[in-house]
Symmetry: C2
């Protein structure tokens, strides 16, 4: 029988439609293979040698010598970084001026080095850049909240194939964040505990949805996961904001995130996915009841009218089965010879 599961953190309800369920391997098979990427594309604004095609960089690492990661203002920014913050009310029409900071984080000089194929050190550099730009952008007094995300592949909404992430600092706190804070606060008032910490404790006790664990982080599939292979990575110890993360923790997260992305990449044939770093708004650092985390949503299914019309989701896989699958698959290519994978560029055939 299907189950309708509730996520106590997000308040979302998800129909786990077991009658329609696929086996985890089937998602890999139904995945459309993408065309192989070239290591360098002369017209790509993010490829090495084309640095003059982007606005001047706001950050790079390493500082000296050839760069591995660059942060640059988005040339087609959704928001204007030079505008003044103002609010306009006319009848029931409410508007805030479109001020904000929208940057692109180029994760590698190589066009074909997708995130799952970065080395551990390269992944650390990417996360350090995330933290640096998050801190810089949220220190702008006009910015109330920053959203850090990555779109990998066309179904995930990317328009440029060169591996990159984005950060958008907005002058408003999204209602989704407000609602989750309110919900978490209510739980805290009732129990004296952070709802994220409580869920994490239960996940560690249950173990069935845990995919992997590092010293400071745990990757698991939520009890009411929205889609097959929807993953959350939580800091093990309470931390409200991504800006609180230490250098040691970043290194540890890089290891776990890389492990997870490699499992997904090799076992599900490089599906499109979105990553987002969900964190507290700028004005709410240090809260006892709110907890930052990383969310990974492989786009192996599509949101349709039911989801749009109800805000509910239909997941065609049991979260426990998806977790067992990812727990057991290796983070390495399985059926290819070593020669094909050497050098980190792998084989989309």
């Amino acid at each position: 029988m299907p189950e309708i599961r509730h996520n106590v953190i997000t308040r979302e309800w998800v129909i786990i439609a077991t009658e329609r369920a696929k086996r985890p391997e089937e998602f890999a098979k139904s995945n459309v293979r993408r065309a192989p990427l070239q290591p360098h594309v002369s017209t790509c604004p993010f490829c090495v040698g084309n640095e003059d095609k982007t606005p001047p960089e706001s950050y790079r690492t390493p500082v000296d010598g050839p760069w591995q990661v660059r942060a640059v203002p988005n040339k087609f920014a959704a928001l204007d970084p030079t505008a003044l913050l103002s609010r306009h009310v006319s009848g029931l029409k409410r508007m805030v001026s479109g001020v904000g900071i929208h940057e692109v984080i180029v994760e590698t000089p190589h066009h074909d080095r997708v995130m799952a194929l970065l080395s551990e050190t390269e992944m650390v550099h990417v996360l350090e850049t995330f933290r640096h730009r998050y801190n810089a952008i949220t220190s702008d007094p006009r910015v109330a909240h920053a959203t850090l995300f990555k779109n990998h592949g066309e179904r995930a909404g990317t328009s440029l194939e060169h591996p990159h992430s984005q950060i958008v600092g907005t002058p408003i706190i999204p209602p989704m964040v407000r609602d989750r804070m309110e919900n978490a606060l209510r739980y805290y008032d009732e129990t004296g505990e952070c709802i994220y910490c409580s869920v994490l404790e239960e996940e560690l006790r249950d173990q069935v949805r845990v995919v992997a664990q590092s010293r400071d982080f745990v990757a698991f599939i939520p009890y009411a996961s929205l889609t097959p292979f929807h993953l959350w990575i939580f800091p093990l110890h309470h931390q409200a904001s991504f800006s609180d993360v230490t250098g040691e923790q970043l290194t540890d997260l890089a290891w776990l995130l890389r492990l997870i992305l490699r499992k997904v990449y090799f076992s599900l044939s490089d599906p499109d996915y979105n990553i987002s770093v969900r964190t507290s708004p700028r004005e709410a650092q240090g809260l006892r009841y709110y907890h930052w985390y990383v969310s990974i949503i492989p786009r192996v299914t599509r949101r349709a009218g039911f989801e749009l019309g109800s805000g509910m989701f239909i997941n065609t896989a049991m979260p426990e089965s998806s977790a067992a699958f990812l727990r057991n698959v290796p983070a390495e290519p399985v059926e290819e010879s070593d020669a094909e994978t050497r050098g980190g560029t792998v084989l989309h055939h």
Copy 2:
């Protein structure tokens, strides 16, 4: 400069990114033309003559003679209509048994007669079936809320191309609906008015976002529309639930909905879209502060990491420009000869 607009009904914030804006005609051009549909497909379970490929029908119209519209249980239902309603709580895991009613409404016996190409009478039959099934399904005591929706085209999530809609009766009220009710109630307590009626009044005064009006309904693009050509059709006079709609009003709605769908079909080259009927939960009929409506979302853009990570949206078109465009385009083919369109089957080339 971009604007960040607030929708006072849904509480959503939308970045209207004018720097990235396309002209309305460009969306039509960027739309991938679909392959022409056949009028009859022998393997299609919804085509006339294949009635034995679906479960027995729960409704049909006309009752005698050849059917035009059929409602049948979904063969791959997400929920189980025979289950008992039960709730399970274990720690922080909350679950409701997957009981519910999931039906398909086949809108036409003809495989290629997409909704925009139905006659006025045929459209009335479809809406009558919607109302009949909505009333029947919400009268099941296990059903708390019903979501009525349509997925048109692959990007909108459809898996079967034969024109059809779906209705899902769930044993829970989606939090999205609860949140909107709460928000509407707060407005009612403060003002003594229905927030939907107030917004509608302002839209009629402003006129700039109105696309078309009939005797009992108005079609407009919301001030903070989520995507280009996102449309709302509101009953002009207060009505909380779709089940309150009269036969005369249904006929009037059929005329307006058909007009809008034809404008979209011909001017934007038959884009993929979702329709949903948003209405009050079963237990909340007759409320003074809640208002049912129809939402149409053409899928001309894609939700990506920013939307998933923040719950905010980026719309690359000015709602006022989209409305002016749709207001002015004809609801008929423009550049094709009459011969090509005769018989209602039109021309996907």
